[in-house]
């Protein structure tokens, strides 16, 4: 499909970000092949130092840290992509409904979005996740449910403008179907939607990691946040050099992912 962004040449920064992100997706896709051990396998000696057998050593329970880290790629990256995708989709679809269906729908949806926006997102996501059953799906739903309003607000503003443009007015005047209208709106809103998808994915990683870190969410899901939490819970983390392989790699992995996503958007402007 042709759109506004594909024609533009990518900046060096964007290319780098895309390369980094491809590595992440590659690892996420082939995680089971890369992982030397199962994440549930705690038969290894505890607190082993990095060696050929355990690349990043083992934790106090006897899990292989490298396996946990790689497994986190799959879980966290997939989860973040799904959360980013669905929150962007929800926001965009609701924005379209608000603009297409007329005043009453617009009023109701915008009011709801405003209600959500008043409370800081992180607080409300944590609140919801605390009261929900601690499963991965619920954490995911909490993130999606409370992060669409920002997407909605921006996309609605953009759509409002587009709906009033002559090209869409022509289709409306000719009683074109929703598909006809969408076809004309797409080129104008797709760049914003893409940007939001990346931003929302970024946000989802941060939220999920933060939630796991606070001990909210699925206790069995071995996400990056869980790994950070486990490292922080280990009382002798800074006593020896343990933090070098227990704590630093996972922090780096999260930071690089979040920063690449952020820079990808930033470079596109």
């Amino acid at each position: 499909m042709k759109n506004g962004t594909s024609g533009k040449r990518m900046s060096f920064r964007q290319k780098t970000c895309i390369m980094v992100l491809s590595i992440y997706f590659f690892i996420a896709a082939f995680a089971p092949l890369i992982m030397p051990y199962e994440v549930t396998d705690f038969s290894h000696p505890s607190l082993a130092e990095p060696c050929r057998q355990y690349l990043l050593g083992t934790d106090e329970m006897g899990h292989d840290i490298f396996s946990l880290l790689i497994y986190g790629f799959r879980l966290t990256v997939c989860m973040a992509l799904a959360a980013g995708f669905f929150s962007t989709l929800t926001g965009t679809v609701l924005a379209f409904c608000a603009c297409y269906l007329g005043k009453a729908a617009d009023h109701v949806i915008t009011m709801t979005a405003d209600l959500f926006i008043i409370v800081p997102e992180m607080v409300i996501v944590m609140f919801a996740a605390v009261f929900a059953e601690p499963t991965m799906i619920n954490t995911e739903l909490a993130i999606i449910l409370f992060s669409w309003p920002r997407v909605y607000k921006i996309i609605r503003g953009k759509l409002k403008d587009c709906m009033n443009s002559s090209k869409v007015q022509y289709t409306m005047m000719m009683k074109g179907s929703i598909a006809d209208v969408l076809q004309k709106l797409m080129p104008d809103i797709m760049p914003s939607v893409q940007t939001y998808f990346i931003l929302q994915t970024n946000k989802a990683v941060t939220y999920e990691t933060t939630l796991s870190f606070f001990g909210i969410g699925d206790p069995l899901a071995k996400t990056w946040g869980k790994l950070i939490r486990a490292a922080m819970d280990y009382e002798n983390l800074y006593y020896d050099r343990v933090f070098l392989w227990y704590f630093i790699p996972v922090i780096l992995v999260v930071v690089v992912f979040v920063v690449s996503l952020a820079l990808l958007v930033h470079g596109g402007e």
Binding site: S166, Q169, M173, M174, Q183
Partner: protein, 267 residues
């Protein structure tokens, strides 16, 4: 017969259009003139169903049309075609000309309305545009885009064409071409042509009637030829004084203009 009866539209306290009634016979062309903000565009948008009037009716061939195009039947919507002021926003610049025109074909077929083929409409408007058929709209000039808009408006065989300052974004020569084209279509297809016009010098002498709007009211209606002599309203007099056309200075003269069109046809 296309008529607007007692149309009134207020935006809050601002009276955009106040009790305007207007009748246009089949095959007649009417210029709607007036200063900016006098309600010309609002009136046209109401006629096309893009805006809902507070009171008043739009009547086409004896049928009272619903106030907004969402409620109008498809054939009523297709019968009144609107040509926008800005050809750069009226067409999606990423689409090819063919895709732009085929949107109309698709919609008409869905509603079982007879529709002109895209190629035929384009050739009818300007044969030279045929070579742009598979090129994206962004490669076209303003004048060419406006002609594509006219071709698109022509396709569903409308009864009324409303041109809302359709030449204000174009250079003088393209503007003349567009108006000559609109008049040719009007003559050949016996359509009603309602045009909002700022610059009458731009236009040709073929207009049949003129209506002047001032602060939302219709202050004067006359045959175009008599207008200079009989115009009474203050604003009409000022309007006449502002244009060379009414002082006998036509550039280009009708003869030059005909020659220009012939030259265009040759290129």
């Amino acid at each position: 017969m296309f008529s607007l009866q007692n149309i009134r539209k207020h935006y809050g306290a601002f009276p955009a259009v106040t009790d305007v009634s207007l009748e246009i016979k089949n095959g007649e062309s009417l210029v709607l003139a007036g200063e900016s903000g006098s309600g010309k565009t609002t009136l046209c948008r109401i006629a096309a169903g893009m805006e809902k009037a507070d009171t008043g009716q739009v009547i086409l061939d004896g049928n009272i049309l619903a106030p907004s195009c969402r409620k109008r039947s498809f054939s009523d919507c297709a019968a009144i075609q609107y040509i926008f002021q800005d050809p750069y926003h009226a067409l999606e610049s990423g689409f090819t000309v063919r895709k732009t025109l085929e949107e109309c074909t698709r919609i008409c077929k869905r509603h079982q309305r007879e529709v002109m083929a895209a190629e035929d409409a384009l050739a009818y408007v300007d044969r030279r545009l045929l070579e742009y058929l598979d090129r994206p709209v962004r490669e076209l000039s303003g004048g060419q885009r406006q002609k594509v808009c006219i071709a698109r408006a022509l396709m569903p065989n409308p009864k009324v064409i409303i041109a809302d300052e359709s030449t204000s974004m174009l250079d003088k020569k393209s503007g003349m071409e567009v108006f000559d084209l609109l008049h040719r279509i009007k003559e050949e297809k016996n359509l009603i042509l309602l045009a909002v016009l700022h610059d009458v010098d731009f236009s040709c002498t073929k207009w049949e009637r003129i209506a002047i709007m001032y602060q939302g009211c219709l202050v004067e209606q006359a045959a175009f030829a008599d207008f200079k002599t009989y115009a009474k309203h203050e604003y009409s007099r000022a309007w006449i004084a502002a244009y060379d056309y009414f002082h006998g200075n036509l550039h280009p003269s009708p003869a030059e203009r005909a020659a220009m069109n012939e030259r265009n046809a040759d290129i």
